[in-house]
Symmetry: C2
Subunit: 249 residues, 2 copies
């Protein structure tokens, strides 16, 4: 195989891309060893630093892993959800915090997908997930809970709900969506009344799932979606008012 690199982009980018394609199209199989850094230098006619920068790019995407020692080298990595999660969360969080996506848009997507999980959860939900949901609801009823702990418990509740669907792809996509929204949710101050409303909706959802009644759970989740948007709206209005006041002074 011969390789000709352009002059435009960085060499390490082009080399990483060439190797990525070999992995994608099956020229390099899972756990197969890539040529050593020295061999890659010869193949692409570049220095070792350049090759290494290319390999680090691939490692950052979990496409390869490296191992030191005599039989070491770079190996095609069997990418797992454990590898993919953190990256997905990083990406989602930044898409949200850098205002590429509005909270409303994220909310709509998140609850649309979560509602899609409900029928599956109602059908399959295991006792341990059900127990987690009940336990988190119980926590949320405690009065001494800080807003942040309340939010964390909220996340735990919804994670258990979607895990009940028993589909790792849905869990992977939704869990990252929910986690990436947490920083924004943490800015909400929950009144006693807010919490009561949320807890009652959580109960409604849990009851629906437990009894295999997807329609009830869906209704609860739908109401919760609306309520979340309302709360977020309040925060935004408060902030706008505060900004105006500050401008006056």
């Amino acid at each position: 195989m011969k390789y000709t690199l352009n002059q435009g982009r960085e060499l390490s980018t082009q080399i990483a891309e060439a190797i990525r394609i070999e992995i994608m199209n099956g020229s390099l199989l899972v756990d197969e060893r890539l040529p050593s850094e020295g061999e890659l230098c010869d193949r692409f006619q570049v220095s070792r630093s350049t090759v290494r920068e290319a390999l680090k790019r691939l490692a950052a995407q979990s496409l390869i892993r490296t191992q030191r020692g005599a039989t070491g080298g770079a190996f095609v990595n069997r990418i797992s959800f454990e590898d993919a999660y953190p990256q997905q969360i990083t990406t989602s969080t930044l898409l949200l915090s850098m205002n590429e996506v509005s909270f409303e848009t994220a909310c709509e997507a998140r609850f649309a997908v979560e509602r899609a999980c409900v029928p599956l959860s109602a059908e399959r939900c295991q006792p341990d997930h059900m127990a987690t949901m009940r336990a988190e609801i119980h926590r949320q009823e405690q009065s001494g809970l800080s807003d942040e702990s309340f939010c964390a418990s909220d996340v735990a509740f919804h994670k258990a709900l979607i895990e009940g669907a028993g589909n790792p792809v849905l869990t992977y996509q939704l869990a990252s969506a929910i986690e990436s929204m947490q920083p924004l949710m943490n800015m909400i101050t929950f009144s006693k009344r807010d919490r009561a409303t949320i807890v009652s909706l959580h109960s409604k959802i849990a009851d629906g799932i437990a009894s295999g009644n997807a329609a009830v759970a869906d209704e609860g989740l739908s109401e919760l979606a609306d309520y979340t948007v309302t709360l977020a709206d309040q925060v935004r209005q408060q902030r706008a008012t505060r900004a105006q006041d500050a401008a006056k002074i």
Copy 2:
């Protein structure tokens, strides 16, 4: 700020992680310039190669971009969907092709989310997306179409459907799911009857969306989901039979 790096993991990994955290927690803002490579060497007490490998890791995740020249450097990148798409597709494709996820699981997740899009599409779908769906249906009716072209048109149809929901997050997640399934879909040989069934379901979906009747569209999509699983099953059985035959000889 002082930095103490452990001995366990690679230095470039730790440096990349430290900078990633600074970006995530807001210490480094969008478009802000990172210290130059030389300054990072001083700060972390490592060589330039190590700093560069760390920066390449971050660049591979679109967290930073670099610019050469007098006022150049590494800048915090405002991550966009255009940046995130390809990475998501790479990850999804490999999760699927490396058997970390079964086709059934991927299918279930994909159609669950797609069905979640239907009510939104029925409400908001714009004429251009509608036109795309109609055009792709028309293409799929042509008899001379290769299986691969038929699949490509299928992808285009569904992409238009989900874009009709007008939610970029849903588009981002679903489009990557659909594209990552394409290699497997391409292995299916569609009979004339298969195509007719699919086209009629596509029409049903399009009609439902066009008339704002989400229930009809959802029914069509649901039937399509079942049919897709059936076809995939057939392929798997054929392959199993062929493997048995090969073993006999």
